[in-house]
Symmetry: C2
Subunit: 240 residues, 2 copies
DNA sequence: CATTACGACTTGTCATTACAACAAATTTTA
DNA sequence: TAAAATTTGTTGTAATGACAAGTCGTAATG
C-alpha cells in the first residue's frame, strides 16, 4: 500500500494557507490591508463564504484583525510561542529554531493510574504507546513533552524515529490521522525532578504544565500529552 | 440620554445562547446528541448557515463536538476555569461561586513604563484608568487582577462600584463597549510580594501570569489586564 | 453465520444572492 | 472655514440550493 498523501484540501483551507504564507513572507506587512473579500473572490475564483472562512481562520490565529467597514488588517507577529492554537508546536515556532530530541523512545505500556483524562474501555484495554521528548528553541530546552497514544492500529510506530519530526506529521503521513482540535488544562507548578534534569532549571523554579487531549479524524482516537514549559525566556501566547 | 441596552442580537447568537442554556440546565446531557441541523432549522425558523454558526460557537467553547455523519455530541463540563475563551471570567465560573473585591478603586494615572503591549499615541497621552481586584472562588482568593483602561470617553467610571460586578457588563451597559476578543501571554512566575499578600501564598509559590489585550467594538479602544492566578486548586482550561 | 451492499440520515463544502452596518472619503451646506 | 450630509467601499448577517463525505442500521448475498 502506498502512502497516498494527496489529500484534496478544501478551497477555503487552500486559500488560508496561501494567505498565511504571504503574510509570513512579508508580502503583506503589519498594518497593511488585505485585499477586500470581493477582490479575493475575483482573484481566486471563489465566493465570499469561502473567502470568509479562510479569513476567519487567519483571524482566529491572530494573523489579521477584521474591522467592519474597513477591511482585514495584518497584525504584528506575536513575540511568544503560539502553542495554544490548533496548529502543532512545530509550526508555532518555525522549524529552523526548533530541535526535537526523543529521550525516551516509544514503547508500549499500560496507561498510568490516575490519568487525568477519562479513558474508554477500548483505550484502557489496549494500553498506550509512551515516549518522551525535549524540544529546544534556539538550542535551549524549553519543552519537556510526555506523549501517550492508544495502542490501536499503529503498526511499526514504536520503531519510528521521532527526532526532529513532528508527531502530527508522522500521524498524518503514515497513519492518515489528522489532529482536529483538543482541550487542555493549564497550571503553574514547581519544577519536578525530571523537569530540573531535562530543562536545566533549579528546584522550585515555576514551570508551566499543560495537559492536553487532542481529537482526530478517527472517531474515538485521541492523542494525549503532558507538556512542561520553561516560560522564563519564551512566554506562550494565544488568541481568544 | 437613556441607556438603551436593547441590542438586537444576531439570530445565530440568540440560538447559541439558547442552546448553551439548555446544555447548562441539563436539558441536553453529556453524550446526548443535539437535534440535527435540519431539525434546528425547522424548529427555530432559520436556515442551515445560521444554525451552523451557532453550533460552531458551541464547539469552539467545548460544549459540543461535531462529528460528520453522526451529529453534535454534548460534552462533559470541564473541571477547570474556562478563562481562556472569549467570555469573561464571570461567566466562566458561574456567578454563585465568584466574589469580586475591588481592593484598589479606579483612578487615573499615567501608563506604566515598559508596558508589555504597544500603545497608540492617543492612548499614551490620555493616561489610563487603573484598578485592582481580587476574585474569590468558593471564598478562596484565586485571581489577582490589575486592569488598565485608556482614559478616553468613560465619564464617571472612576466613581463606579466594581464589587461583585463584571467589568465587561459595566462596559456594555453604561458605555456600549463590547469585548470582541483578544490575545494573551501566559507564563509561570514565582509569587510576587503582592501575590503573596493578596492570594495568601508563600514566596516562591508558582503563579500563573496572564497578560491580556482585549479588543472592543470601538476601533482603537482596548482593555488591558494582568491576571495572577493561583492554580493549585483550580487549573485553567481551554479549547484549541 | 459472516460479509457485503445499500439506503437513510448526518455534517462538510461551496456557489449565489440580497441587504444591513460600519468606516472613510467626498460633497454639500451653513 | 467648519460642520453636516452623501456617496462609496468594506465587512456582517442571512436565506437558498446543491452535492460530497461520513456513520449507522438494515437488507441482500455468499
Amino acid at each position: 500500500m502506498v502512502d497516498e498523501t494527496t489529500y484534496q484540501l478544501p478551497r477555503y483551507r487552500e486559500l488560508y494557507e496561501q494567505l498565511r504564507r504571504h503574510i509570513e513572507e512579508g508580502i503583506y506587512g503589519p498594518g497593511d490591508l488585505l485585499p477586500s473579500e470581493n477582490e479575493l473572490c475575483a482573484v481566486n475564483q471563489v465566493t465570499r463564504p469561502t473567502v470568509r472562512r479562510a479569513l476567519d481562520l487567519l483571524a482566529n490565529e491572530g494573523y489579521i484583525k477584521k474591522h467592519q467597514g474597513l477591511g482585514s488588517v495584518v497584525q504584528n507577529p506575536p513575540k511568544g510561542i503560539g502553542i495554544l492554537s490548533f496548529s502543532g508546536t512545530t509550526s508555532a515556532i518555525g522549524k529552523d529554531n526548533l530541535k526535537t530530541d526523543a529521550i525516551v523512545k516509544p514503547y508500549v505500556m499500560p496507561w498510568p493510574d490516575q490519568f487525568i483524562f477519562d479513558l474508554t474501555d477500548t483505550e484502557r484495554e489496549s494500553g498506550c504507546i509512551y515516549f518522551e521528548r525535549i524540544r529546544y528553541v534556539n538550542e535551549i530546552p524549553v519543552f519537556y513533552d510526555l506523549s501517550y497514544l492508544p495502542n490501536i492500529n499503529l503498526p511499526r510506530f514504536t520503531s519510528r524515529n521521532l527526532n526532529n519530526a513532528s508527531l502530527f506529521d508522522i500521524l498524518r503521513e503514515h497513519y492518515r490521522i489528522e489532529i482536529k482540535g483538543g482541550m487542555q488544562y493549564i497550571e503553574a507548578i514547581p519544577a519536578t525532578e525530571n523537569c530540573q534534569k531535562h530543562l536545566g532549571v533549579d528546584p522550585e523554579k515555576p514551570i508551566l504544565k499543560l495537559q492536553r487531549k487532542m481529537e482526530t479524524n478517527r472517531l474515538d482516537f485521541f492523542v494525549y500529552s503532558i507538556l512542561y514549559c520553561n516560560t522564563e525566556e519564551h512566554s506562550l501566547y494565544g488568541e481568544f
